[in-house]
Amino acid sequence: MESGFVALANYERKSLGMPELPLALVPYAMGGIPPEQARQLAVDAFGKMLGEISAALTGEPRGSAAPVEAKAVVAYNATLMPDDSSFDGVNRLFYERQWADGLPIVPPTVERVSAMLRYTDLAPDHVLGKMGPSWHPTTVHHVAVNAVMAGCRPEYLPVLIAGIQAILDPELNCYGTQCTTNPAGIMLLVNGPIARELDINGGTNLFGQGWYANGTIGRAVRLCLINIGGGYPGTSDMSTLGSPNKWGSCIAENEALSPWPPFHVDRGFAPDTSTVTAIATTSPQNVTELSADPRAILDTLASAFLVAGSNCTYFDHEPMVVLGPIQAGHVARGGFDKQAIQRYLWEHGKIELKGFSATSDKVIRQWKVHSIKTEDGKEFVYPTRRPEDIGVIVAGGDNGPHCALLATFNGTHLITRAISRADGTPVRSVQEFVRS
């Protein structure tokens, strides 16, 4: 372990119930240097670490006499009364306690949280799963509290709960996304009638400002990742640069202007079922092609995957392509359906595995091993393992030649969950929760 990760190691060993787990600090930065140089450093480093390693492996561990403790009772409804209950006072308190994201929060009063909880038939203490790296139980109550803080309207809670359920699917790799040095955050995509009911923007400027649902639902996800999952920048969130997407984002697909079935139908859901898809991604990478030629549009998109330095170049993942409505129309008129788009992007997105630095070459061979194929004696890297691993949606305004690529994090999948009742029955409207 290098010195930059001491805080994360300390946080993780405490979260995992092993605060005394021994650590040995590598005294040099070993990454990215030639292997021969690294080996020389490694031998020297081992000499300096020998005492720590030996003590760790053979010394009697501290705390060994302590009995294994039963899990503490979840105080899911703990409250506080600030001495200064003004808006400024509450915000100062929440900021000092690292409960906020850097913007003012709406005070999560008992009344506001109760109003939020009307929009679910799950019990407040229902645990949706454990969120890393804190591995705290994610209760419905805590999701509601963080939704209030983000400014969500009560009727947004069903979307947020489905989103958190998707995020907690191990296949999304929330834990890795939280702790990585990569700038990835988690975006939600909402499909189906509830996206329209809640006015979740899938049109003009969908990744930008201007829509209350997009802004507050996305922000609520980030607050959950901080307060429930323990993603604290510099301690357990190791992102070197971060990204605007890490403030939180929520979008809809522009189903009305799509020439094809929407994303959730691709995933096997009924058209009138509403779903939320979690996407562990960096900020959108805009891809502009001024030609109306369908193949030119797809060629430009395909060449955007494996560009130098992109997540797609290194990672084994499921990226998402966002086609603007105008570009989607051109591509559809060229006879492409979504499967044909996936196949075309996959085949034309490959690049020859050569010309990388020695370090990157080795990493690509290790991390992206399942996307490397040898053809006619040459090695090629494909964007993904399979064509169907590329997600395709239509979104944005009907006004420009723009598409986007969501270059997701390593080891992530696109995870979709239906907005449902506690028994798993999908709801057609969020108002069903308050009628019953």
Partner: protein, 105 residues
């Protein structure tokens, strides 16, 4: 700033706020009893696929053998960004008395 903490069900205050962080603590895990020395032991190494982690750990393997370890077992995670699989951890646990795990870059 001072404050008082209460639980739901207490007397309703004028401005009672919920705490957004779950109030739980992790299960305390009892560390395994350590051997008095690693001489004669089987030492496991779990690489995390970060750049030169394998070089560092292979060098450590050689040094541990020179210092008396009976054998070493080096394994790597399947992905740098995912935790080790249960099968991998079980293999290390079954074949090693102690293990070293790589973390970070």
């Amino acid at each position: 700033m001072t404050m008082s903490e209460t639980r739901a069900g207490d007397r309703e205050p004028s401005q009672r706020l919920y705490v957004p962080v779950p109030n739980t603590s992790a299960d305390s895990v009892q560390p395994a009893k350590r051997p008095p020395s690693f001489k004669g032991l089987r030492v496991g190494f779990l690489g995390n696929l970060k750049s030169n982690c394998d070089v560092l750990m292979h060098a450590a393997e050689e040094q541990m053998l020179m210092l008396g370890a009976a054998s070493t077992l080096y394994r790597e995670k399947e992905s740098a960004s995912l935790g080790a699989t249960a099968a991998l951890l079980d293999e290390l646990a079954a074949n090693c008395e102690v293990a070293v795990v790589g973390l970070g870059n």
